[in-house]
């Protein structure tokens, strides 16, 4: 599974996005994981626990929000969540792959201890 690769890219992205002071104040990482992303949140949490051992990220919480699939019909504009992987509009029967949500793998936010913003 590629969860370990993804955790490494979480860490690489945050090494990049945060300065040293922000990294020191980091308390929580908030991820958005779509149900179409092929990533299992539970495995991602497990991988995270192992990968951050002995790194500055040890002790930083990982919060994962699961995002359900949302697809838009090109014919009647109905927005629907595919049931049993059927990407077909339930209102008019037109197939659609116009995915509005559910394929994201995103670091959405970080939570920092307040000392950073005050100092």
């Amino acid at each position: 599974m590629h969860e370990v690769s993804l955790v490494r890219s979480v860490i690489a992205s945050l090494d990049d996005a945060l300065d040293a002071e922000e990294r020191a104040a980091l308390e929580e990482i908030r991820l958005k994981v779509g149900t179409l992303s092929g990533v299992e949140p539970m495995l991602l949490e497990t991988a995270y626990g192992f990968v951050v051992q002995g790194t500055p990220y040890e002790g930083v919480r990982l919060a994962i929000t699961s995002v359900p699939a949302l697809v838009r019909c090109g014919t009647c504009a109905t927005e629907f969540t595919p049931v049993r992987q059927r990407f077909v509009c339930p209102a008019c029967g037109t197939p659609s792959n116009d995915v509005l949500a559910g394929d994201e793998l995103l670091i959405e936010q970080v939570v920092l201890a307040d000392s950073v913003s005050e100092s």
Binding site: M1, H2, S5, L6, S9, V10, A12, S13, L14, A17, E22, E27, E28, L31, L36, S37, G38, V39, P41, E45, Y48, G49, R61, L62, A63, I64, T65, S66, V67, R84, Q85, R86, F87, V88, P95, S96, N97, D103, E104, L105, L106, I107, E108, Q109, V110, V111, L112, A113, D114, V116, S117
Partner: protein, 244 residues
């Protein structure tokens, strides 16, 4: 929306900062580098995916035999261990290079770019002269689906021996593919496998998916697969010529 946290809620005052970084951003950036390089060199790139043992290498052996007088082809083979697939392809006179992932279950764009760089440094091989570059991915229908390798075509093989329930079990793979090739169709008389059912399921996931049938061992369908590739290689060349 359900939110699961590993530990307890934060203590004291905190500040929430937006990041909004796509975790595949680094991969997608490198994939674009590969795509640009392939366009400069006029190379058509295929990312070939499937479960282990569904016939990627055998199909490529047949493809090489059929296309060797028509165009120049090279293969990058991703595998957890061993050089076996690359050795098989070299016997057919195709330059084939193994990317041993050392246990990683998929190829990432960075691995492909590194392989291309090391080939560029090798005087015995000229990537610029390659019309068709096939990247044979690691046998796996889950993880490769998330990694763009800069390909023009993503083709996923499904063997009749695997059962016809795969598209709904691995939707992301079929959602992101351009073509599904049903392989080992010479075994259809002996198996409870319906090409119609698998095509219907796959198109419920991705209605734009093309479907081909191939029996590599008996050469059935190999011509149609090669013609499919040739048509697209020509179309890419024409588009590149127009853009110049």
């Amino acid at each position: 929306m359900p939110q699961r946290t590993i530990n307890t809620a934060p203590r004291g005052n905190v500040c929430v900062q937006d990041v909004n970084v796509n975790l595949l951003k680094a991969n997608d950036f490198v994939a674009d580098l590969i795509r640009r390089r392939a366009a400069e060199q006029g190379t058509y790139v295929v990312n070939l995916c499937s479960s282990p043992g569904s016939g990627k290498t055998t199909l490529l052996e047949k493809t090489a035999a059929r296309l060797k007088d028509t165009l120049s082809m090279a293969v990058l083979v991703g595998d957890l261990e061993t050089e076996r697939d690359a050795e098989r392809l070299r016997k057919h006179g195709i330059p084939a290079f193994q990317i041993v992932t050392g246990g990683i279950c998929h190829l990432e764009a960075q691995m492909v770019l590194q392989a291309l760089d090391s080939l560029d440094a090798d005087d015995s091989f000229d990537l610029a002269g390659v019309d068709l570059l096939v990247i044979e991915n690691v046998g796996n229908l889950v993880c490769p689906a998330s990694y763009d390798l800069g390909e023009d075509l993503r083709a996923t093989l499904i063997a009749t021996t695997e059962g016809d329930d795969k598209p709904k079990k691995y939707p992301r793979m079929f959602l992101t593919s351009d073509l599904m090739v049903v392989t080992k169709t010479d075994l259809l008389p002996y198996l409870p496998f319906s090409v119609e059912a698998v095509a219907k399921d796959a198109r419920e996931v991705n209605h734009d998916l093309d479907v081909l049938e191939v029996a590599s061992i008996s050469d059935e369908g190999v011509d149609a697969w090669c013609d499919y590739l040739l048509t697209r290689i020509e179309a890419k060349r024409a588009a590149l010529a127009e853009a110049v």
